[in-house]
Symmetry: C2
């Protein structure tokens, strides 16, 4: 992080094309990769993989592997830290919904 302005620090973490959509998709609870991909139109497998990895490295997303020998089962969820952004994300979402035509 290079900026000292708090809003910019938040936006560096949660801004960009895909991260807000990944965030909002995970707001209701843990999901598997295929569920997230289904919820986000147009995201490719590679891009979503990269985004989830970056968000994990930033401490925003937790990846838990429940796989057994027979079944691959990985779930992604928001961390406590990430959940602290919910008021901001909800407010941005409400405002964006009211500005559909601009």
């Amino acid at each position: 992080m290079t900026t000292s302005f708090p809003v910019n620090r938040a936006l560096e973490i949660i801004g960009g094309k895909w991260r807000p959509q990944v965030y909002c998709t995970l707001q209701d609870g843990p999901l598997r990769f295929s569920d997230i991909q289904r919820a986000i139109p147009d995201v490719s497998r590679k891009v979503l993989t990269d985004q989830l990895r970056e968000l994990e490295q930033l401490g925003m997303v937790r990846r838990v592997d429940y796989s057994t020998e027979k079944h691959l089962h990985v779930e992604y969820s928001l961390t406590e830290d990430a959940l602290g952004l919910q008021p901001a994300m909800n407010a941005l979402c409400s405002w964006g919904e009211c500005h559909d035509n601009q």
Copy 2:
């Protein structure tokens, strides 16, 4: 605007390096150009001029010219539309302040 996701629409308008700082500087009421520039470290005259013009075109900033023949006096303020983003900006600010070390 090309995106259909509400959070992204909001971030396209208020994201970037300087816009959050211009926004927060104007939150407490109208200011003159020189006041805004003083409040934002490192912003150049040209960049701030461009940012204010863009925000004005987006309907976020109002520019009122009170100049007389003798005195140049222009004030900038947030529009009603822009003030609707205050909950989001305050929440982003609080979160960013708690993540100073990342």
